[in-house]
């Protein structure tokens, strides 16, 4: 009897191993049909390009004397915002300003000190906003979706706004990832006031722009709390000032706990344009991408200009702000529990978005024989390798400084915090451009073309020739793009090739059902066996 019990228990324990050993050439098991291909529910795909309220936003136009270039993108900038931040929010009629959601203090432009036809006294007000933060079941928070269904938490510098910031309001269009690119002119007297509307301390550090260590009052002006002045506490403000003597593409970011604050989104491009006559620059490029009102020096040499910001997102860091409403708990986890040395990015952003949303905003749209200036900043913690399909651009500047010998490549590596400027020539002769088409433009680190491992995603954008563009700003494409706009796709619930062909072997295999009753039977058997052994043992 004892031997019998022991034998049964051994067979039960070893049975999975035994079954394989009978799988031999001489004695194959009988044919059993694999499960059927599952029907796939791809989920709600939404719009590839959401309908634009005002079609005229895409046109080239003039508002309040500000010339605004056309933008063929699906989601173009609001031309009234472009006009207001160029002219100065203090120089715009109130009715226009109210519609933009900007505060009158967002960018005040003052006197023309050198009498060359443009303002030289620039006062900028920035607030700190949290996106996708903690919210109670009934409360609403300011949200930002980087790709279908994906909402990591972020902190951003936002131009000072007016009114409510929740979804649908005018201000909410301005409070977004990434923080806005700031443009000033060489020798402008720039004052940037940080109004800390957030619940953690912050500062601004101007990376690469010549600025005094302390201001005239002896207060810190470098934004580094350990060496230059105090942190700006919640509810308080501080003004930084500089008068840049060198033009170029620079960087500004928070320097409080920069190992996390920079990556949380408190970083952006700062461009000092060359001193020219009548050069009233577009102070903010909201959301980056195409510059609708390029500076005089760029306008003379190029047909258009783009700002491109790259950064990786480690979900583990960005989800911390969602866990609690208690700032002490959030600080504990961000400052002490999160270990950046174990960082693994899950998402890769271009101008605050991942593919497919990048195509709505950051598509480079060209016509043949054009010159496009592309400024790139890598504000993430990993280097990037930018590759342009169909084109061989020329690198003209690094870290704001002009190269004596421009470098032609089809892959450009950019280190963290580094800026490069590219000259993209769309002349078809093989060297510059291979010809008209819809060409990928992406970071060639393979993980960077995925959203948490599901491709296509990440920082992919396109160089699209106008003749390949549909009216809504989305390129003509043979593939079904609908599935990329469903949250289910990036959760990994949709087979990548499901709609294309051959569902019999490229679709989703069904699962054999394993009735729950078997588990119950196992449990009963286990208990009986245990009881039997125990009974025999203790008897």
């Amino acid at each position: 009897m004892r031997r019998l019990v022991l034998g049964i228990s051994l067979i039960l324990l070893l049975s999975p191993g035994l079954s394989h050993s009978t799988d031999g050439l001489s004695d194959p098991p009988t044919w059993s049909e694999a499960p059927d291909t599952k029907e796939i529910d791809a989920g709600d795909t939404g719009f590839i390009c959401p309908p634009l309220e005002n079609q005229s936003w895409r046109n080239s136009q003039e508002i309040l004397g500000v010339r605004i270039e056309k933008s063929e993108r699906c989601s173009p900038d609001n031309p009234q915002v472009v006009a207001a931040v160029t002219k100065g929010t203090n120089n715009v009629p109130r009715r226009i300003l109210m519609r933009t959601g900007l505060s009158e203090d967002a960018v005040r432009k003052g006197r023309d000190l050198d009498r060359d036809g443009d303002p030289d006294v620039i006062n900028i007000s920035l607030e700190v906003a949290e996106l996708n933060g903690w919210t109670s079941a009934t409360g609403r928070s300011t949200t930002w979706e980087i790709a279908p269904g994906i909402k990591p938490g972020f902190w951003v510098f936002a131009p000072e706004t007016r009114g409510m910031a929740t979804e649908g309001s005018a201000a909410s269009e301005l409070i977004r990832m990434p923080s806005p690119a700031i443009r000033v002119e060489e020798n402008d007297r720039v004052r940037v006031t940080l109004e800390n509307t957030h619940y953690f301390p912050h500062t601004i550090h101007f990376h690469g722009v010549d600025h005094p260590f302390q201001d005239k009052k002896g207060e810190g002006n470098d934004g580094v709390p350990q060496t230059s002045g105090e942190m700006v506490m919640p509810g308080e403000q501080h003004t930084y000032n500089f008068q840049p003597s060198e033009p170029g593409t620079f960087f500004y970011h928070c320097h409080v706990q920069p190992s996390t604050h920079v990556l949380m989104g408190l970083n952006r491009m700062l461009i000092v344009s060359k001193d020219r006559e009548n050069n009233t620059v577009q102070t903010f490029n909201i959301g980056n991408g195409k510059v609708r009102n390029p500076s005089k020096a760029v306008d003379k040499k190029y047909d258009q200009a783009y700002d491109m910001l790259y950064q990786g997102v480690d979900r583990q860091l960005h989800n911390i702000i969602k866990m609690s409403d208690d700032p002490r708990v959030i600080a504990e986890h961000i400052n002490r529990k999160y270990d950046i040395t174990e960082r693994t990015p899950d998402y890769f952003l271009l101008n605050g978005l991942s593919f497919p949303y990048t195509v709505r905003e950051s598509q480079v749209v060209v016509e043949p024989n054009e010159l496009t200036k592309i400024r790139v900043l890598n504000s993430g913690s990993e280097s990037i390798s930018i590759h342009t399909h169909g084109h061989r651009p020329v690198k003209t500047h690094v870290d704001g400084m002009k190269l004596d010998d421009p470098i032609r490549r089809d892959v450009f590596s950019v280190s963290p915090a580094q800026r490069i400027s590219l000259k993209l020539n769309s002349t078809t002769e093989g060297l510059n451009s291979y010809g008209k088409g819809v060409w990928f433009f992406h970071n060639h680190r393979e993980e960077a073309v995925t959203n948490n491992g599901v491709a296509p995603g990440g920082d992919i954008t396109l160089i699209t020739y106008e003749s390949f563009l549909k009216e809504n700003g989305i390129p003509k494409h043979p593939d079904t793009w609908n599935k990329y706009f469903s949250p289910k796709y990036y959760k990994g619930e949709v087979p990548v090739w499901y709609s294309d062909s051959m569902p019999e072997y490229l679709g989703e295999a069904g699962r054999r059902s394993r009735p729950a009753s078997i588990l119950g039977l196992f449990a009963v058997l286990g208990i009986a066996l245990g009881g039997l052994i125990g009974w025999r043992w203790f008897r």
Binding site: R2, R3, L6, S9, S103, E104, D105, E127, A129, E130, L131, G133, W134, T135, S136, A137, T138, G139, S141, T142, E160, R162, G163, M164, A165, T166, S169, I175, E195, N196, T197, H198, Y199, P234, G235, E236, Q237, M323, S324, D325, D326, P327, R328, V329, G526, L529, G530, I533, G534, R536, W537
Partner: protein, 211 residues
């Protein structure tokens, strides 16, 4: 008549202060259900970080967070901002006919104050009061406007109401879940059984050898 002149003057003053904005200011238009203004209320509300200090974990709040108003009362609110940033005193859920988007807002940018007027609708409701700057509501700037006694409570108003799924501070790091406890219990039973059966098997062999 005199009253309207004063109100008119206040309106002009309101608009001329550039650092503040009152949206949907309404000293006159009667909301649906009101046949006349039945009373006057004057309020001074303070906003800022200093009022949040007495609530652990809160960052911003108002000195008053719960208000009781009678229907058809004309309320004159002065918002005093003690911080160097923007704050709002924003009511949601007012009748759309009188208040576009159902809102009444006073916004003050930096230290200072501003005054706005609204007429309470003839309803029995609890309306949401908050600051619309990201996370200010979540971090304490939230309140309730109870009209005619109100028809319920709003969550997460410091000192008054909590949240439905509050953050658990207990055993934060070593929180033992039901699943892991069950797993550990099950695996120990299996291990125990294995050990005892091996032991049993050995005894069996020994007994056999003895015999």
């Amino acid at each position: 008549m005199k009253k309207y002149v004063i109100i008119g003057l206040m309106l002009v003053l309101t608009v001329s202060v550039s650092q503040a904005i009152v949206m949907n200011n309404n000293p006159e238009e009667l909301p649906p259900g009101c046949r006349k203004v039945t009373g006057e209320r004057n309020l001074k509300v303070h906003a800022g970080t200093e009022y949040a200090k007495k609530f652990n974990s809160k960052v911003y709040t108002y000195d008053q967070r719960v208000y009781s108003f009678e229907p058809c009362t004309r309320v004159t609110v002065t918002l005093v901002n003690n911080d160097s940033i923007r704050h709002q005193w924003m009511i949601h859920g007012l009748p759309m006919e009188t208040y576009p988007m159902g809102m009444f807002t006073i916004e003050v940018d930096g230290p200072g104050q501003d005054t706005g007027i609204f007429i309470v609708p003839n309803v029995t409701e609890t309306l949401l009061l908050h600051c619309g700057i990201p996370q200010h509501m979540q971090k304490g700037m939230k309140g309730m406007i109870k009209i005619n006694g109100g028809d319920g409570q709003i969550s997460n108003v410091p000192g008054f109401t909590g949240v439905r799924k509050p953050y658990s501070y207990e055993y934060r790091e070593k929180n033992i879940s039901l699943k892991s406890s069950a797993l550990i219990l099950a695996s120990s039973i299996v291990i125990g059984l294995l050990v005892s059966s091996v032991f049993f098997f050995r005894r069996e062999v020994e007994q056999k050898e003895e015999s």
